[in-house]
């Protein structure tokens, strides 16, 4: 019978069927292809740095006195002749040093890409990104996890139907609006509050010093209020606002996905509601909570507009959270528009992009392959 039906199908139909299925398969592969393309093409634009082919990295041989360095920025200087004479005495030994130094330059702690002797130390950028991300997480994680616990276990059904959409409203705030919000209100608020808490911080630092002498200096270094308006703290609050909806929603989903039988069993054994929530349900949903925090880190790490607007954008090598910082993403965002295309600086900005991409990819791979699998295994029997 089936064979008979099959025979009756016109050939065109079979061809359409075949084309449709494979067309859809090919289109579906776009998501994978794009991931590869992102990596390849961001890598390609950073190629000048990675393969050492950028003009700035080529050893300066004698023949570059004329012609070859047409495109070098120096040639546009009014004192071209002088530059050439300065460069000539450079012996082969200094050439080698120069060639080697780009990676040392990258590992340095000054980011000063414009100028006669550009410095591309990415350490302050990494430190800045780390600081902002940490501030954002310290603020957002407890708040959103506790709120998710409330929404999942303690709130009435009606209230819960209000909490979730309200937090989704926060998720709908474009990041540029959050950045603007930081700029106009949070900066003032933080400046107002910090004048009050400095004595408290000092007292805490000396108290800490009596227990651990090293911690005292570190704490003072990390928490002394500075006169700067924009800082990793202000930016961290802004990023926290961006991260809260992510952590809240995923945690809430994970908590709600824990089988009801867990809760009933715990209550039946005589545990109170909060004991059930904190000692049974939360541990059961822990992988989901970890995934939520990880994805929050990913978001905070790569967020551009808020960091660009509220962190002050100064690449300082300092642990103080009240100092301005410049994050990786903000550096890309503010400098790519103005950089000379194809220059070493341009290559390095794309290199920073690769760093961001690798971090986000890793975080996602961990949540995808490790955390979710764990979660699935855990509840398969339940």
């Amino acid at each position: 019978m089936a064979q008979f039906l099959h025979k009756k199908r016109p050939k065109s139909q079979i061809i359409t069927e075949f084309l449709a299925e494979w067309g859809i398969r090919v289109t579906a592969s776009f998501s994978i292809v794009i991931i590869f393309l992102i990596f390849i093409f961001v890598f390609r634009e950073a190629g000048g740095l990675i393969f050492g082919t950028a003009k700035e990295l080529k050893p300066k041989v004698e023949k570059n006195i004329e012609g070859a360095d047409d495109l070098k920025p120096e040639i546009y200087n009014p004192e071209t002749g002088e530059i050439v004479t300065i460069k000539e005495p450079k012996s082969t030994s200094t050439k080698k040093k120069e060639k080697k130094s780009i990676w040392e330059n990258l590992a340095g702690d000054i980011w000063q890409p414009v100028g006669k002797e550009p410095k591309y130390g990415i350490m302050p950028l990494l430190l800045g990104t780390l600081k902002v991300t940490l501030v954002a997480l310290f603020l957002a994680t407890p708040l959103s996890i506790f709120a998710a616990i409330y929404s999942a276990f303690f709130a009435t059904r009606r209230l819960r139907e209000w909490i979730k959409p309200t937090v989704e409203i926060l998720a709908g705030f474009p990041s540029v609006v959050l950045g603007f919000f930081c700029l106009v209100t949070i900066v003032k608020g933080v400046n107002f509050i910090t004048t009050f808490i400095q004595p408290g911080l000092d007292a805490f630092a000396s108290g800490l010093g009596t227990i651990m002498p090293f911690a005292d200096t570190f704490f003072r270094e990390a928490f002394t209020i500075s006169e700067f308006h924009y800082s990793s703290f202000v930016g961290g609050i802004g990023l926290g606002l961006a991260v809260i909806p992510i952590i809240f929603t995923i945690t809430e989903d994970a908590l709600s996905a824990v089988p009801k039988s867990y809760r009933e069993a715990s209550l039946a054994l005589g545990a109170s509601e909060w004991e059930t929530a904190f000692k049974v349900m939360l541990p059961a949903a822990l992988p989901g909570v970890v995934a939520a925090v990880l994805l929050g880190i990913g978001r905070a790490f790569g967020e551009t507009m808020i960091a660009l607007m509220a962190t002050g954008n100064a690449a300082l090598m300092s642990w103080n959270i009240f100092h301005p910082v410049r994050t990786l993403a903000a550096t890309i965002g503010s400098e790519t528009g103005e950089v000379q295309w194809g220059s070493l600086h341009y290559n390095i900005l794309f290199f920073l992009g690769i760093l961001l991409f690798i971090v986000s990819f890793t975080i996602n791979a961990i949540t995808e392959l490790f955390v979710k699998k764990y979660l699935a295994k855990k509840f398969q029997g339940a």
Binding site: S31, I38, E45, S175, T304
Partner: protein, 305 residues
């Protein structure tokens, strides 16, 4: 155990319970109040400057007067082209994931992994991708074959393409959800009548999930309209003498407009009222889209339960 210590323990427990229930409640309420205050802040400051003229005029006098029409126009055109490019691809991917894929197959799992990864890539990296792939590779390729010089420049088209890649996961996730709500009986009935799989998808499944596709596009538009970082280098500009008229033109963008006004304006204080209004317009645009999508979604769920 003496009764006193039992009472003490009980007291202790009550104390912990007080905290264990109080802290989550406090967090939840604090969060909601914070969000409401933020909304109120923008409405309070932005509403007075909002007028018909503001929406329909071009900015004048360093953005201290006039409106933001070119920015609204640029943003709307941008997200329109973006959805033309992104929604078909997203829908096809969702159709694959829900209709064709064997959930355990390596290909299906890698597609899913790709979608999730794409959702987590920082938006600024998409901007770099737009430069490296669309402008420097495709644009330059077109230019060298045609002998022109406009395609490798920042433009509306490349911005829209970049954003469509960025919003692809949004489309895929919500269309797939909609496809899954189409009852199995419909597919079975169609197949039993002798329709092929593709006919079933094209004539039964897709029409029945049209609202879902719409939701996906709306959500993607809401997301795309608010993203600034990806379009900074691929086409958005701060001010333009004319409205963009072709795909290779640059355009004004509301988010970018807000960013530049907030950080680089020569007279920030004077521009502030209009800036609040611009922000409010952007928020209203994003929220009205999100709320519409939410309502449609709720209706789909209700119809299917």
């Amino acid at each position: 155990m003496n009764p006193e210590s039992v009472a003490h323990k009980k007291n202790n427990k009550r104390f912990i319970e007080y905290f264990a229930k109080g802290v989550p409640a406090f967090s939840a309420y604090a969060l909601i109040i914070l969000i409401i205050l933020m909304l109120a802040h923008f409405i309070w400051h932005g509403l007075p400057g909002l007028s018909w003229a503001f929406l329909t005029e071009a900015p004048r006098n360093n953005n201290t007067e006039g409106g933001i029409f070119p920015a609204i126009y640029g943003t709307v055109i941008l997200v329109f082209i973006m959805s033309l490019l992104g929604v078909p691809i997203g829908t096809a991917t969702a159709v694959y994931l829900s209709e064709y894929a064997k959930q355990s197959s390596i290909f299906a799992r890698s597609v899913r992994f790709g979608v999730n990864t794409l959702a987590g890539v920082p938006s600024i990296v998409f901007g770099l991708f737009g430069v490296g792939f669309f402008m420097q590779f495709i644009g330059k390729g077109i230019d060298t074959t045609l002998g022109s010089d406009i395609w490798s420049k920042p433009s509306l088209l490349w911005s829209a393409a970049t954003l469509s890649v960025l919003t692809l996961p949004v489309v895929i996730v919500s269309v797939e959800e909609a496809l899954r709500t189409v009852p199995h009986e419909l597919r079975a009935a169609s197949l039993a009548l002798g329709a092929t799989k593709w006919q079933t998808i094209w004539k039964v499944v897709l029409p029945n999930s049209l609202t879902g596709i719409l939701t996906g596009s709306i959500l993607a538009i809401g997301r795309g309209a608010g993203e600034v970082a990806p379009v900074i280098f691929v086409g958005a500009v701060y001010s333009l003498p004319e409205l963009p008229s072709s795909l290779t033109d640059q355009f004004m963008h509301m988010g970018y407009h807000i960013y530049v006004l907030a950080t680089q304006s020569p007279n920030a204080a004077e521009a502030l009222p209009l800036q609040y209004s611009s922000t409010l317009v952007l928020l209203l645009l994003a929220f009205s889209l999100n709320i519409t999508a939410g309502l449609i979604r709720m209706r789909i769920r209700k119809n299917n339960s």
